[in-house]
Amino acid sequence: MYHVFLYLSLILFALSGALSLRLERAVSPLRKRNSPASILLFSAALSLTLGFVSQYHGAAWEESAALLLAGAVAWVAVIVSLRSGLTQIGMLVSPLCTLLLFLHLFSRREPQSMTPGLSASILGGLHVLTAILGQAFALCAAAAAAIFLVQRRALKRKQLPHEPAGMISLDRMERLLTFFLWIGFVFISIGMVSGAIYTHQFVGELPTQFISKVVWASLVWVWYLMILMARRILRLNTRRVALLSMGGAALLTLSFFGLSFFRTWGM
């Protein structure tokens, strides 16, 4: 049961973070205590707590600094949002808790026994598929970012097209970029979650060649999370988002092709 609650809390934290970023406003005149993101955050905190409780009564207590920290932070955020209505705190707390859970799951030394009904191949396949899709959309976001930057520069410098009707408008490019960023981030997140669960369940201690992969994947995930948070909270303009997207694509390319180099360099 512990693992079920653990995985459930991971999924709920990820969903809560995504919904917070998508739906909450950085500055909102209304305080919705029962917003979907807040409910998910509460559910995630509860699930994590139940996991602790079940572990306490079950096998040896698995002390994990990351899990404890995640639980504490989540409950503080829930209390703050309930008392003050500051539901936007979920935008920061949920991704942080997700990251902490990733750290815990990837740092497991021994694989756990398989939960009945859970198939390694399905989970592994899901991880690979969503990781690839996430990277594909992230690269599409970089392409959209590049086109946006070129068109923006042309308009700023008044290098106007001969056939204006044939040019995609700037705001449409911006919407495409945002769409690709979001979809890419969702798939990357699902890939991370499924990968973390798979590792925790069936792998245990990661082989050396996969450590850098996990580190880079986490970096990429954090990078895109930062882009979306900066867009949402700091109201970062589209030009900077585009530049960051292209940076994210560079990170992706490194994580995809450059692992061999960095593995030996890091060792």
Partner: protein
Amino acid sequence: MSSPRKRIFCIGANHTTVGIERREQLFIDAEAVRGNVDAVRQEFGLDELGILATCNRLEVFGVHSEGSDHHLLQCFRKVYELNPKAPKLADSEVQNIVYIYSDHAAIDHVLRVASSLDSMIVGETQITGQFKDCIALAEAAGTIGPILKRLSNEALATSKKVRTKTAISRKPVSVGHAAVDMAKLVFGNISKHEVAVIGAGEMARIAAEYLKGHNPRALHIVNRSGGRAAELVRHIGSAQAHTLDDLPDLLRRVDIVIAATSAGEPLVKYETVRSAMVYHQQKPLVLIDIAIPRNIEPRCNQLEDVYVFDIDDLKQTVEDNVKEREAEAQRAQSIVDEGCQHFEDWLKTLDISPSLNAFRNYLDSLIEREWEKTRAKGILMDLSDEQTEAITKLLRSIADKMSGDASSQVRNPTGELSSIHLANALHALFGQRGRKH
């Protein structure tokens, strides 16, 4: 003594000879023209004078009996210096930016201008109204005579024929339309955005009407005079009227601004836009300036997420439309050529009419003289009133016939002699001095 030959001239600068910065300096408003056109005419000894000042051209056209190109250059300089902000230009600089036409070339140019064939946007409709206003202003100032009056009538008639007999204006491409197309480069779907149009004149009206067809989320008309804004709103429908005081607040809300006023200084300033962008939450703001002098500070383009386009930028977007109209423009030119011929034919009659009138007067006075002489001798005294009237009618009929035949032959000579030569001969033969050319 022969009177000097009158010549029609046109001297000016337009969008093809000067860039937007210099055109801003050349611009003079209607009040300046109204107050000074007659003084300029007298100073340079011109018989007739008209001044056409628009956002894309400053033209001085008229009639003079003497004078050189240098004389006309000085006249042009005098006119553009009516703008207090106009810089002092050397003669060579003025020469570099102007074109000078005389006689047939001047007539052709005036007709082309009035028919919008010389406009930045070929086929645009504003120029005809601007030309009419210029003539009305000159008439009010008393600087229009029979030649310019006739020329302006011919120009307007030609303009009307060009629009009705060619498709040059059927594809409505104007500066206002081009401005809206420019906004679409940033905002593909205008229906999701609020738009403000600053100004209530012809260009603003065209832009607002075209915008209305795109169903923006809200359309705001801003003008110095709230009454004119309200009038335009009534004409368009489903828009809101504002005064310039509302502009800073509007800049926070709207996504597209089209400025088309004749204000002498920028209405949309850098600092105002910078303050407004805080409320835009990183969404772009498009400022399109189709006025000269410019209504929007060009510096606003330096702001992040602000895109400023002026009238020179619109030129690029309408190049394709201009190409499409080239064929129609060629057809329109043939109509202009007909108008030129028609006017020049009339112009010729100015030279021969005095001679024909003199011949007619001679015939009338001859009939009168001989009739009195005959009656004085006591001949035909016993005629009844009816018979007297019949003889008088007969004599007048003969005079009409002779005068008509002479006029027909002089106006349409079939031999080697020209109209002028025949007119001079008539003048010499029948007692009055002919006009030699």
